[in-house]
Structure formats: C-alpha cells, structure tokens
Amino acid sequence: MTPVSQAVNHAVEIRDLHKSFGKLQVLKGIDFAVDPGQVVCVIGPSGSGKSTLLRCVNLLEEPTSGRVVVNGVELTHRDVDIDAARRGVGMVFQQFNLFPHMTALQNVMIAQRRVLKRDKAEAERIARENLEKVGIAEKCDSYPAQLSGGQQQRVAIARALAMSPALMLFDEPTSALDPELVGDVLTVMRKLAEEGMTMLVVTHEMAFARDVADRVVFMDGGVIVEDGTPEQVIGAPRNERTQTFLRRVLDPTHTDV
C-alpha cells in the first residue's frame, strides 16, 4: 500500500523538515513546495543546507523529522516503497557519478532494464533518444573516462531522463565543470525547463537562476531566508543575508566593511 497524501497538487511538498548529522543541525525547519512544471533554483552559501535539502527530496538523506511528499507519495511515511518512489525523481549530481564500467549507452539503459524491466530494444531506443536530446548521440559507445566533464554530465542527465521522471533534481550540476563546458550543460537544462519539466536546482549559476527559474529560494544556516521570483530574490533582495551573499557571488573581488 502506497501512502498517498491529500496534497496531490504539488510536485514536492516539504513540511517542517529537520535534518541533523550527529549534533550538527543542517536543516532547521524547512517549509516549501514546488508546483508541477515549476523550475525552482536554490541558492545560498556553502554549508547552508541546500544540498542536504535536495538529497532529502529523494531520501538519499533520511530526514530527522518532518514530512516530504513527492508526486503525491509521502516519502517520510514508514511503509513507503522508496525504490518505487525514486523512479519518479531523477537526480543529477555534482560529480556526475556515471558508472565507469559501462558505456554511455549502457549507463542510460541499465536502470531502464533492471528497474523498469523494459526490453532491450525499447531501452536502447529510449536511451538513444535521450542521448540525442542532450546532444551527445555520437558518444553512445564511449566510456565515461573518454568523455569531457560536460559530456559526462549530459549523459548523467540523459540517464535520469530515460526513467521518465516527473521531477528532476540537480545538485550543483555545473560546479565540477571547466568554465567553458558549463554552457553546454546549462543549455540542456534550459531546454528541459522550456519543455515543462519540474526542476529543483541547487546552483551557483546566478544568470541561469535569473533567466530560467520561476522561483528562487535563498537558504542560509539551515533555513529558507527568502523565497520569490528571480526579480525579487536576485534583483531586489530584502534580507540582509541575501544581499551580502549576492554581493559576494556577483562581485567576488568586492570586500565588505
């Protein structure tokens, strides 16, 4: 029996989420929701808990307390089938985490075959479609070590998309990339956003957040400090912490005081 929440109208709904690692409190009560089709960018200084928040959305981190409801399924329910729930949520990691012993094509096929039990021909067709979508159809038979960081990350995106997720999580997807490769990955993400994919993106790319996001969330010290449109949060931040952070990010050589 899969526990179904009443609030099926949200893609993600988080209520009073707390997460501690030992004595260290990383998330101190997060309330927030993402609607279907929305692109939400989470920004904030390192250590603010934004990656932990993202990882709680597919339960890679187990929340200490609080409720996480994704696609109408309460993940924090004791009897939830977490493997089934994760199928609907794609995740893209900072370090790509491609499977190094498999080609790009096999990377995109393995979960389709093993989890969704698609037959080989169908899995391969879907894999090729998605690799084409992210612009690396010609690299199907390359191993991850033979690909650039930008290409690896795009394979990782294809791998997640092949599972037909209703929601995509991006955990600093461009932070490990050489600067000249960032654009390729952001272009793919922008395309996804335009196609109406629900996306939750932890990022330091302010230009991407400003141009693509429907909403920007600023986190600091384990709480959400500001939540609004990019114009509000990046363009005219009201909170002092947001202002300080943005000043540092947008003008790194600037020193306060």
Partner: protein
C-alpha cells in the same frame, strides 16, 4: 664527518662552490668501486670453495630429470593447478560473502565475519591442513566431499577466503559512495545496486591484488603434502619430494622449483601489468 668544512674566505664573486677535499662526484666513484671489489671477492670465494661437480651431480642430473617426465606435468602440475584453482574459486566466493557480511548492517554478521577473518589470517596454513587431516577423528563418520581433492581445496579455501575477504572489502570500499547513490536515485534496490554497480567495479579494483593472492595460494598448495596424499593425487612439492627420495638425488626438487616458477613468474608479471593499466585508467 662527511660534512664539507666551509672554506675560510668567502669567494669574492660568489661563484666558486664551497668545497674542500673530495667532490661528491669523486666520492660516488670511489664508493661504487668498493662495491664492485666486494662483489668480485665473493664470487671468487664461492667459485673456489664449492665443489661444482658434486653440486651439479646432485641438482642437475639429466637422467633423473628425465625420469620426472611426463608425470611432472600430467600428474603433479595438473594437481597443483586443480588444488589452487579449486581453492581460489571457493576462497573468492566465501571471501566475497565474508566481505559483505563484514560490511552488513546486521551486527552478528559483522561479528562472525571479523572472527573468521582474524582467526584464519592469524593461523599458519600448515595448521589448517593438519586440522583437516584430523577432522575425521573429531567428527566420526564425517568426510570432506570430493575426497583428497576436496580436502586440499577446502584447506586452501579456508586460508584464502580470510585474505580474500579483506581484499574484497577494501575493493568494495574503494568504489566511490556516489556510485551507490546514483544507482539508488535511479530506483535500484540496495541489492540490485550492489550486484550491478558496486561489485563489478570492486572486482576490477581487486584484480591485481587478487592475482597476487592466487600466486600465494598456488605456493600454499604445496601444503597438501601434509594430507598424506599419494599416487594420482600428488602435487608438485610432494611429487618432487618423492622422486628425490627414490633416486636419492635433489634434481627433482630443482625441476619442481622451475615448474612453479614457470607459472608464478608470468602471473606476477601479469599482476603488475594489470596494476599499471589500472593506474592509467580512471
């Protein structure tokens, strides 16, 4: 004492190196010359003192060497390989099992694995073979399946699996955590992620050390000697020993030694090749 005393006056232009007595280059030459002299002295001494005729007669007697054939290969080497490969296969399977148990979230499994590994890594291999030899006394009516082969393979598997467990655990832990996370985020179960993603990578990582372990196991297969095997079950060492007694001549021991090296040296070479290839990849 080898410190260079500083010259009294500073060099006026600061170019002349501070040096007195021998230059480092000179000292190196002298040191090397001394080493060559020592080596030559030892060689001359051995050449004069050893009775080469007798040594040759005892270790490299052609007729005796010829007597070892073809049984050397058709029986002895064949059995050494059967014992080692059989022992290795079981050592690998049980090693993997103990490695997984050692990393299990079920605490008693961890205890069992740790106890097993600590005990059988700490015991001399000979002792384990003696245990197996006396097993029927302790357990009347019990017989190791597979007879003599079974006993030899069991002994090697017990010794090997303890080492293999530690090697495989290291390999499993060397697979980055992100691999498991990526697999889980795609909806794979923990078991499925282990089987499809983590274990294949761990095995790749442990291939070089495992090859070395196979060589160690191959050498340990000589301990089958202690099981009192005979006839068609003898492996290389026992075979060499028996032949040496029969002819009252040490040649078979040398022949057997060379036969071991025919297998172990290429394997050792293979292991270091694999290690280098792995260092380049990734």
């Amino acid at each position: 004492m080898t410190d260079q005393p500083k010259t009294a006056g500073p060099a006026p232009d600061g170019v002349t190196p501070l040096r007195s007595g021998l230059s480092p280059r000179k000292r190196q030459q002298i040191s090397r010359a001394v080493q060559y002299v020592v080596l030559a002295a030892v060689v001359v001494f051995l050449a004069l003192t050893i009775e080469w005729g007798k040594l040759g007669e005892n270790f490299t007697k052609g007729e005796v060497a010829a007597e070892t054939l073809p049984a050397l290969f058709t029986i002895a080497l064949k059995n050494t390989i059967i014992y080692s490969v059989g022992g290795f296969v079981f050592a690998f399977l049980f090693g993997l099992l103990f490695a997984l148990m050692r990393m299990s979230s079920v605490r008693p499994y961890r205890w069992i694995a740790v106890t097993y590994i600590e005990i059988f890594r700490g015991l001399p291999a000979v002792l384990i073979f003696l245990f197996i030899l006396f097993l029927p006394l302790a357990l009347p009516g019990f017989e190791v399946p597979g007879g003599t082969y079974g006993q030899g393979i069991l002994g090697l598997a017990v010794v090997g699996s303890a080492y293999m467990a530690e090697t495989l655990r290291a390999g499993l832990q060397a697979v980055p955590k992100g691999q498991m996370e990526a697999a889980r985020s795609l909806g794979m179960s923990h078991t499925r992620s282990m089987v499809s993603i983590v274990i294949p990578q761990a095995i790749r990582i442990v291939i070089p050390p495992t090859t070395n372990q196979f060589v160690a196991l191959l050498k340990d297969s000589s301990l089958v000697l202690f099981l009192g095997v005979s006839g068609e079950y003898v492996e290389l060492t026992k075979f060499g020993n028996d032949m040496a007694s029969t002819f009252a001549n040490a040649t078979p021991i040398l022949v057997v030694g060379v036969t071991y090296l025919l297998v172990t040296i290429p394997l050792g070479y293979l292991a270091s090749r694999l290690e280098k290839r792995q260092a380049r990849g990734r």
